[in-house]
Structures are given as C-alpha cells and as structure tokens.
C-alpha cells in the first residue's frame, strides 16, 4: 500500500527542481521604500491569514524596535504602496501595531551572549544609538551607551509627545536592551572621543541627533515667552509643566510644530495658532497629524511669517507679514516672498519656534562637519574621518525620521563589526529583483475596490485634555480585512520554462486581470508588475508550466496533504474529510470561520492562497490519501478577486464525473461558496459531514460483506 501512496511524478533534471524550489518573487515597492527593508508583504499577509504570532516573528526579524515604529513611523512604505493606484495604500503601520499588540510582543525577550572582547561606545541613545547597541550585542560585542540626558531614547523620549508614543513602549524596549547586557550611562554627556579610546573602547558610534533649534534671526527672538519647539517639548517630556498661557503661536510647518501646538493645547492654552510661511501643499507635516491637530482645535494660518517680536505688559506683540509663493527653487519648492505693506500685529502669550534643528557636535570629537553642521561620513560604511569612529542618524542627515535612524544604527553595527574583525565590508546584496512599474489602467479596473479602514482614534474632545495615546488598535476582524487589501505585489505567476510552454494561450484567455500577453515573438509573457497572484492560470495551465513565484505558495497544497496523510490517515475513528479553504476566510474572521470543525470531527483543512489555485488533481489526491469526502470552501462576493468560485466549480464537476466512472459517489465532493448559498453554509457543512459519514459506513459494511 505504501508504494501506492508515494507519489512518483515526472522525473526532471535536477536544475528544474532547483528552479522550482527557489524564491522568484520580486521585492515589492513597500519593502524597497522602507529604510529597514522590512518584509512588509509577508507580515501583512500573515495578519490577513490570522497568523499573528508568525507575523510578529517576521516583524521582529526586520526591525529592532517595531513597537516604536508601530506608533510613530512616517511609513514611507505606505507612500510607495501600489494599492494606492487602486484606492488607498494598505494601512501598514497600523497593521504592525495590531500584530504587536495581538501577537504578544510584550512577552518577547531578547538575548545575547558576549563572544568578542572589543568594547564599543555609543554616544547618544536615540533610535540610531539603541539600534546599533541591539545589533552589536547580537553580534556579541560589549556595548556601552553614553547619554547626556537622564533617560534613554533621544527624541523618542524628549521630542515626540506621549500622546503619540506612550513611554511604556520605550521603557519596554530599553529594558530588553539592558537584559541583553547593554551597559547604560545616563547623565553622561561625552565631550571628547580620545577619552573613550583611552579607557579601552575600540570603536565609537556617534548618534547625537539634531537638537539645536534653528533661530529665526528676527528682533525680539530672545524675549521671555519665546521658546523653541525642541526645548519646549523636552521640558515637558522631562517632567516640567511650563504654562503656555492663553494664546499661543507656533512658527513652522513640520512635525515638531504640530507636536508643539497640540502639546500647548494639552497644557491649557485656549487658542493655538500655527503660522506657516508657505501653503498646505509644501507643508512637511504628515496628513494624519495635520488632520488630528485640526480636529483638536489647532488653527493653521498659511503664508504668514513673523518679522518682529516685542514684549509688552507681559505679552508678546508679534509683527507678521503675509507671503506669496515665488518661483520654485532648484529643489522644486516654491520660495515664499513677503508682500510689501501687508504687515499686521498679533498678541500672544507664548511663541514657539519650530523651524528646524541642527546637530551640535562638540569640538572635542574631532570629526569633520559638512552642510548644516552635520557630521560627514562615507555613505556605505558610515565611517567618519577618524579611524574607528562612525556616525549616523539625525547627526549625519539632519532632522529625519525614526526608521532612518534605526536603519543607520543597524548599518553601523555591521560596519563596526567589519572594522573590528578587520574585514572588508561585507555587503549583503538582495539577490531578488525589485518590482518597478505602475499598474496599468486595465489591471486597476479589474482589481476589486476595498476601502482602507483607519484604526480607531480617541474622540477629539477626549484627546486635548491629557496625554493619553490618541490612536487605538484595530480589532481582529478589521485588521485581517485591512491586511487582505494587500496585492501581494511581486509574488505572481511565472512561466517556469518557456521551452515547455505549449503556447496554448489558456492563461491569456482566462486571466481575470488580462495580464498574460503574446509578445511579438509569439511567446507568452506574464508581466510580474501586473499579475495579481490569484493563481487561476497555474491550475488551468495544461502544460503545468506556470507556477507562483513564492515556493511556499507552490508547494503548500502538496505539503499539507502529505502532513494529513502522516497524521490523520492512521486514525480510523472518524471518516477523514479534507477541506480546501481560502486561507483568508477560514483562519481569519470571514464567514468561513463558521465552517471550522476541527480535527476531532475528522475534518482536516488545507488552507490555500485562493480556491482558484486548487487543481483538479489535488481533489483526487485528497481522496487517494484516504479522505472519504472532500470539500472546497471559498469566498463568493466577499473575495478580493472576481469570480474565483466559477473555476473551482468547473474542476469539481470534472472530478465528480471521474468519481462516477471510478464507482464512487459524486456527493463525496462538495463546494461551499459563502454568500451565494441559499442555505447557511455551516448547516450545509454539517449535512455534508453526516452524508460522508453515511457513505463511509456503507462502504465499510460492503467490505465486510465481501470478505
């Protein structure tokens, strides 16, 4: 019997098998855009499948502090998300937050062992410094962080307000680092690097950020009541409660300006007005933040700049001038030009300037500085002009983002490792190609629109009272549905060997998105930038030459069936029933969840990418390994694709005909498509189990009669 079950298939040359095993997917645009190159497509898809713990694993493997990114990342991935060409980008950051909260991130422990003796000093404990410390510990180096402030985290701690990033989140990550054995020296501003080398450090990473606020250079800027945004936020974040008075002005249009304005509201200011010298289009602050500030009551005045400040009777009299936009400069940004004679006066209690910051590098560091007082480094290695001294983060780039700082920290750790091991920098190259190119209008038209759902936020009246986190987490169902919006870019179908393609044109005719085409040389092409990875053509290709690019997608069904064969076939208690189910419906929260009966009922589930990928021979194979009944459950109108069920119905019909010829009852094969059955699918499912049970009993009795 055993030889019957071992599956001897086509025997092809080894190189074909190798090609079959390799990952041929392309790097999607979201991943390319992420400074950390996180495997976004993979973890979003795992969320969509309801595999939250696995999703968290993928997240953790690509980001040292995902919990922080989950709150404040500027998500360049979403800006690059190709779903935007259909409706709106996938809410990647919010999904990460969901995976962390529901995947049990709090319980995860990091560990590290020391395997090197060279000590490394990290100056500054912002995200760049923390990330570098994390990876250096993973590599086995003893690491010390020197931080000027009393607490770790850099701008995460002293810049970003608590209502956007709760402090427990930073604390948890810092605790992990301490457990990993990172030595921490707070209240220790470093003024000279020589000293660090003298006391035995072999390499230094400078990540001192950009904390020096830029000055407006106008009269009266030194008056009491005028404060710069970074200092204002730092004071609050370090526990002071400065009073902004009744009326408060904030100068600038970046995230610091908005954080300062919203913080001022929370400190009791009645009226907070942001003055920005350009218009909405040029404003660098992120749209969510602007939106939320407006909801809370912050007022934004465009095309206005202060030109003079005078302190009178305890208040500030600010002279402003209106601006108009001139011609774009070399960088494409329109320069504001003052309109003559448009000056006007306004009275404020406080004026907060937030027009940018620059790094402030102590002269004793002896590193070469460049434009805007940033530290000059070699881009690929982050090495400064001093041997053994590396630098990264805001100190090198000027004010940037958390995720860029994390990426710099990770890169620095590898380069410091190379340096200490006297290695030529090892560059790990991505071997897969990057996906480029937009979706064609024809493709976009065929992709089903599914609106983006934002995570819930606290009502605006609730918000402006205190520093409670504004954004809440998705619930399970919303998250899985949002994650299903991902187009899985770059994982689509490919013709594994053009040589075996019979050019039958089946794929071209049946692709719901009209992706495959015949090129001028009469060769069928499946452009990967258009393919929606539904897998319909894979199951329909009569030459079996089309495969999905991810090995997991390709081998999944076979492997799952083998697994069932090994684990379930032995037990003869219940008749075995194998169900092929949409991986998103059954384990997520779709209606299909109601079909789940568990292995105890004898029902084993093979999750599939889409029921359109279930091949007729898979159904037969399930019967062969011992299933008494086989069903396919897919989503009807709830599916992200059009009309997938019609394909599986055809294949089921084909197999049923064969069953009749074999002498088996065709009822052993069922399709359940949610949303289209007149009867409740769960009821139908129970009936099916019962029916199969009956058929099984009958066949057992028949056999006993025979023997």
């Amino acid at each position: 019997m055993d030889s019957l079950l071992t599956d001897i298939r086509q025997n092809y040359p080894a190189n074909r098998t190798q090609r079959f095993l390799a990952d041929h997917s392309l790097v999607p645009t979201c991943q390319t855009a992420c400074p950390l190159h996180m495997e976004i497509r993979e973890y979003v898809d795992l969320v969509a499948q309801g595999k939250i713990v696995e999703s968290l694993q993928v997240i953790r493997s690509g980001n040292p502090f995902p919990s922080i990114c989950a709150y404040v990342c500027t998500h360049p991935c979403e800006d690059a998300c190709r779903r935007d060409q259909v409706d709106k980008p996938v809410a990647i950051r919010a999904l990460k937050r969901f995976a962390l909260e529901f995947g049990g991130d709090r319980l995860i422990q990091a560990e590290a062992e020391t395997s090197h003796i060279e000590k490394v000093a990290i100056v500054g404990s912002g995200p760049a410094g923390l990330a570098c410390a994390y990876y250096l510990r993973k590599f086995g180096y003893p690491v010390t962080i020197f931080e000027a402030h009393s607490e770790l985290g850099g701008m995460l701690r002293v810049g970003i307000p608590q209502y956007r990033l709760p402090r427990e989140v930073i604390d948890t990550e810092v605790q992990r680092l301490t457990r990993m054995g990172v030595e921490i020296r707070t209240n220790t501003p470093v003024v000279s690097l020589d000293l660090l080398f003298d006391i035995g450090y072999k390499a230094i990473f400078i990540t001192i950020g950009a904390h020096q606020s830029l000055r407006m250079r106008i009269d009266g800027e030194e008056s009491p009541g005028v404060i710069d945004g970074a200092t204002f936020l730092r004071e609050i974040n370090l526990g002071l409660r400065p009073s902004p008075g009744e009326r408060c002005a904030v100068i600038g249009g970046g995230n610091v300006a908005f954080d300062a304005a919203r913080t001022a509201l929370r400190l009791g200011a009645r009226e907070v007005r942001i003055l920005y010298r350009r218009s909405r289009v040029e404003m660098p602050a992120g749209p969510e933040e602007v939106e939320q500030a407006l909801e809370e009551g912050v007022e934004i005045v465009f095309l206005v700049a202060p030109i003079k400040i005078k302190r009178e009777k305890g208040r500030l009299s600010v002279t402003c001038i209106r601006m108009e936009l001139g011609d774009p400069d070399a960088g494409g940004r329109c320069q504001p030009v003052p309109i003559e004679g448009s000056e006007f006066n306004e009275e404020f209690d406080t004026l907060i300037t937030a027009i940018g910051q620059a790094p402030q590098t102590p002269g004793g560091f002896g590193v070469r500085l460049g434009r805007g007082s940033t530290i000059q480094v070699e881009p690929g290695t982050l090495a400064t002009n001093r041997p053994g001294v590396f630098a990264g983060g805001d100190a090198v780039t000027g004010p940037a983002t958390v995720v860029e700082a994390l990426a710099a920290g990770r890169l620095a750790a590898s380069r410091i490792d190379d340096y200490l091991q006297h290695r030529y920098p090892l560059v790990v190259k991505e071997t897969r190609e990057s996906l480029t190119g937009d979706l064609l209008p024809e493709t976009v038209e065929m992709v089903r629109r599914i609106g983006r759902v934002e995570p819930p936020i606290l009502a605006s009246e609730e918000r402006s009272k205190d520093f409670e986190p504004v954004e809440l987490v998705y619930d399970w169902e919303t998250a899985t549905n949002e994650a299903r919006r991902c187009l899985r870019c770059g994982t689509g179908a490919e013709i594994l060997s053009q040589d075996r393609c019979a050019t039958c044109l089946t794929c071209l005719r049946i692709c719901p998105y009209h992706v495959p085409y015949l090129d001028a040389g009469s060769t069928v092409q499946i452009p990967i930038d258009q393919c929606q990875a539904c897998g319909t053509c894979v199951a329909e290709c009569p030459a079996k030459v089309i495969v999905l690019r991810k090995p997991h997608d390709r081998r999944r069904v076979t492997e799952e069936l083998e697994h069932i064969l090994k684990t379930a076939a032995g037990s003869k208690l219940k008749p075995l029933i194998v169900g092929f189910c949409c991986q998103y419906g059954l384990f997520g929260t779709g209606t299909l969840a109601s079909l789940w009966r568990g292995a105890r009922a004898g029902v084993w589930i093979v999750p599939v990418l889409c029921v359109a990928t279930v091949e007729a021979e898979h159904l037969l194979r399930a019967l062969e390994i011992g299933a008494e009944g086989v069903f396919v459950a897919g989503c009807g109108d709830g599916c992200a694709r059009e009309n997938t069920a019609s394909w599986i119905r055809q294949r089921v019909e084909k197999v049923r005909k064969i069953l009749v010829q074999i002498g088996l009852q065709p009822e052993r094969l069922q399709t359940f498509v949610s949303g289209t059955l007149s009867e409740d699918p769960a009821q139908g499912m129970d009936n099916f189990i019962e029916q199969v049970g009956g058929l099984y009993l009958a066949s057992v009795m028949m056999q006993e009669v025979k023997s």
């Binding site: 019979a502 039958c504 030459a543 021979e617 037969l620 088996l664």
Partner: protein, 227 residues
C-alpha cells in the same frame, strides 16, 4: 492542430488491467493545447487511476508519468528509453500518431491509446474546439471563400447549399450554421459570387491512396553532379 479527447476512465482501466507497471506518456504539443494529454492531464489521469486503485481496489499498478515535447518524432522517444525498459506498457496520451510512434520505436512493448483522436481543428474559446479540415489532400478553400464544406457541411457536399438550409441553419442540426450559406455570404462580401456558379464534380475519398507520404526534400540524382 490535432484535437482529441481523453478516453473514459473505465476504458483505460480495462486496457491497462493486465499490465503492472505502466508509463503514462503525455505529449507537449497538440494534446497539451486541446486539454487531452498534456502534463496536467497526464497527472490528472494518474491521480484518477490511483484513486480507483486505492478506493475500489482496481488492480495493483505502479504508474510513472512523463510528458514529451512531441511523440511523433523518433528522436524525442529516445529520451524515455530507460524508463520504458522498466514498464510493462505505455499508455500514450499522444494522438493516434503518438501511439503508433511509440509502438514503432518500442516493438516489444504494448502501446495503448489513452485518447480518442478526433479531428483537426481550431480553438473556439477556452475548452472548446471546432473541426476545420478533413485533410482531403486537395484543398478547394480558394473557391469556397476560406470555408471548408467537407468538414463544416454535415453532408460534406461540394455544390451547396442543399434544399435543407433553413434560416441559415442546417436541417440535420438546427444549432449548426449551414456551411454553404456561410460560403455564399463571404463570397458576396468578397464580390466573388460567380464562384458559386461553378460545378465541382463529386470526389471519391475512398480512392485516396493510404497511407499517404509527403516528401519535401528534393531528390538529387548523384550522377548529375559535376566533378
């Protein structure tokens, strides 16, 4: 393209009943395109036979599968010599030509037909094929506006239409277009209606000398060479 249809499973089961080790041999050209015997159908049949075996106990066979690019050229068959040495029969999912090519190459081995080779035709839509040519060896499509009356007229008459044409359909099958009406309409469009008026003497297909052979290489008399 040659169009065929896989034989019913019971017929196949009966054919292979007395052979233990069977190679299911697919064909990567016409049989793949017409969904009768490409790699997918080979695999499907393989699975079906195994289910029959495990569920019903339909004999004990060991199956192998392999799909050649083409079965109708002897060189391709060399690729399976080793495999064939281990089997008791080859179940060819090639067209009738493939089955015979296998039989010719492996004289000591039974070569069994897994498909019913049906006609030469073209794809109408996915999964639907129509007959178009009878390989009569004397093509008249120039006169019939590119529509073959031998295959497309049920009666195969050479001087149509007959009196059975009604509303553009054929009296023998109301779902079928009358081929001769199609010929007429197309000739009209081409302004060649005069071709309808010609008389074509009936042809006796039985007199076609079978099997036919075509030689495309030009024979050269060695004696005529210079030198």
């Amino acid at each position: 393209m040659i169009v065929a249809e896989q034989k019913p499973l019971d017929e196949i089961s009966r054919m292979i009943a007395s052979y233990e080790r069977v190679l299911i041999l697919g064909c990567g050209t016409c049989m793949t395109v017409c969904d009768a015997g490409g790699e997918r159908e080979v695999s499907f049949l393989h699975n079906a036979l195994r289910v029959a075996q495990s569920k019903i106990g339909n004999g004990i066979h060991i199956f192998w599968e392999y799909t050649l690019k083409r079965q109708c050229d002897p060189e391709f068959l060399e690729l399976i010599v080793e495999r064939v040495a281990e089997v008791d029969a080859v179940l060819s999912l090639g067209c009738g030509i493939g089955v015979q090519a296998v039989a010719e190459r492996f004289p000591e081995l039974p070569s069994l037909p897994g498909v019913n080779t049906s006609f030469m035709g073209m794809t109408r839509e996915t999964g639907v094929w129509d007959e178009r040519c009878a390989a009569c060896g004397d093509c008249r499509l120039e006169d019939t506006a590119g529509i073959c009356p031998i295959t497309r007229c049920i009666k195969g008459i050479l001087n149509g239409p007959c009196a059975g044409t009604k509303n553009g359909k054929c009296e023998a099958n109301k779902d079928m277009d009358c081929a001769w009406l199609l010929v007429y309409e197309r000739l009209e469009k081409l302004a060649q209606l005069e071709r309808m008026r010609r008389y074509y003497p009936p042809r006796n297909f039985r007199t076609i000398p079978r099997p036919r052979r075509i030689i495309s290489k030009t024979s050269v008399d060695p004696g005529e060479e210079y030198g």
